[in-house]
């Protein structure tokens, strides 16, 4: 069922959060790991800013890139 639900995402899932860490690099590493743990594979960091307490970050997991097979066009049968 999860697959069909994911297929309905028009293009991507953004994760907006604040991660406690001691450097920008650490923040990047952590958020990418989070995305992986969430099962998002085609990921990118859209925005990340470190000021000391941690990073304010928007990470993105693409479900459908433009040009791929869109799950939401295919009667929920498979994810593109």
């Amino acid at each position: 069922m999860a697959e069909t639900a994911m297929a309905q995402v028009i293009d991507a899932i953004d994760i907006e959060t604040f991660v406690v860490c001691s450097s920008e690099a650490e923040g990047k590493k952590i958020i990418l790991q989070i995305m992986q743990e969430m099962g998002l594979k085609d990921t990118d960091i859209v925005f990340l800013q470190y000021t000391g307490p941690g990073v304010r970050v928007r990470a993105r997991g693409y479900i459908h890139r433009p040009g791929s097979h869109y799950g939401w066009l295919q009667g929920n049968k498979r994810v593109g």
């Binding site: 085609d42 693409y62 890139r65 040009g67 791929s68």
Partner: protein
């Protein structure tokens, strides 16, 4: 003791795999190893493609010259022996000895003159072999080594014919003759001070040397001035720095319009192969030779081996990510072996071990 550089023609051509194989071979022979790098390599994931890369496992006793920040990153325990006061974007270069085996990230000095200094420091610790790991397609600092292994492969271009031609072109330059001692002596004598840099020079049959300002040939006016110095008695032209394609073409067109065919002398093969237009440069140089000109080097840099990696990261447009892909490496390796005077190896193949053993040949030190 030998100093061997491992240079790649692009990212992902297998430098690190080659370096790792050499480290293993050295360990198998029970010999002491020294290691540095001209950049940053061996990290977990590739900085550009995001693909995992092999990391270097160093045995106890290996001496390394690496940037300070590398100490915290790997799993090996490294005892710091000396700080060299050479700064890099990853901190000061230190010389250390591996106290407990582990994985190491190697980032070293990234400039030619810094590598020279670092190698002196490593040599003082008397390892049996020093390896200089490359970075990306960088080659320039490798002139400080005593022999070069060229790592190339499908990551440079996955068109096998183009890869074949490019590899031949690259390797050919390393096989040029070294300038005759007698001519070298004349050029040496013409230098203002023994330790001053070489300058663009024209040597004539009488042994007279005329010099231009500078060592690299990059501006059209310089070529005009240089052509002005070339008399019908010109014997050799020395370009000790780098040369741009357009200047070289202008120079050779100028020379070919006259009956004179002086020898063209370059400092070392690296000065040519670093050019982004190297393959175009090679075409005009080949033509120069066909027209009766000759080519020589001030210093040779022996090419010891070519490693050929059939892997390349294929970029997928729809997912905007990289996946692993391969070309037919065996066929290309055979084709190259027939044309080159050095070993052409896929270090991941079982037969590679024997070749590496022979290459390093610790029983007959160089």
């Amino acid at each position: 003791m030998r100093v061997i550089g491992i240079a790649g023609t692009a990212k992902n051509t297998g430098k690190t795999t080659t370096t790792a194989a050499l480290i293993e071979q050295t360990g198998r022979a029970g010999k002491a190893l020294g290691l540095t790098s001209i950049g940053y390599d061996g990290e977990e994931t590739d900085n550009v493609t995001g693909l995992p890369k092999p990391r270097l496992l160093l045995p106890v006793g290996t001496v390394v010259a690496i940037a300070e920040k590398c100490l915290a990153t790997g799993s090996a325990k490294i005892q710091v022996l000396k700080r060299l006061g050479i700064s890099t974007p990853l901190g000061e270069i230190i010389v250390g000895r591996v106290a407990a085996e582990g994985l190491v990230v190697i980032a070293g000095p990234n400039k030619e003159h810094q590598l020279a200094e670092v190698l002196e420091q490593l040599k003082a610790l008397r390892p049996d072999l020093i390896l200089v790991d490359g970075a990306l397609n960088r080659l320039a600092p490798m002139v400080e080594t005593e022999g070069l292994i060229l790592a190339t492969g499908a990551a440079r271009t996955h068109d096998p014919d183009r890869l074949f031609r490019e590899t031949l072109d690259l390797c050919e330059v390393f096989q040029w003759p070294v300038l005759k001692t007698q001519l070298m002596a004349r050029l040496l004598a013409a230098r203002k001070q023994p330790d001053s840099d070489w300058a663009i020079s024209v040597l004539d049959e009488a042994g007279k040397v005329q010099m231009l300002e500078g060592k690299s040939l990059l501006a059209g006016q310089q070529v005009e001035s240089l052509l002005g110095l070339v008399s019908p008695r010109a014997k050799a032209i020395l370009i000790p720095g780098i040369v741009s394609y357009s200047c070289l073409k202008q120079l050779l067109d100028g020379l070919l319009s006259q009956p004179v065919r002086p020898g063209l002398v370059f400092a070392d093969p690296i000065k040519l192969v670093v050019s982004q237009d190297f393959f175009d440069i090679k075409i005009v140089l080949d033509r120069w030779r066909e027209e009766g000109g000759s080519l020589a080097l001030l210093n040779s840099l022996p090419l010891l081996m070519v490693t050929l990696n059939p892997f390349y990261p294929a970029y997928c447009d729809s997912t905007r990510s990289y996946t692993a892909a391969f070309i037919d490496g065996d066929m290309l390796r055979e084709k190259l072996s027939r044309r080159l005077r050095v070993w052409v190896v896929d270090v991941k193949k079982p037969e590679a071990q024997k070749i590496l053993q022979e290459l390093l040949d610790f029983t007959h030190p160089a």
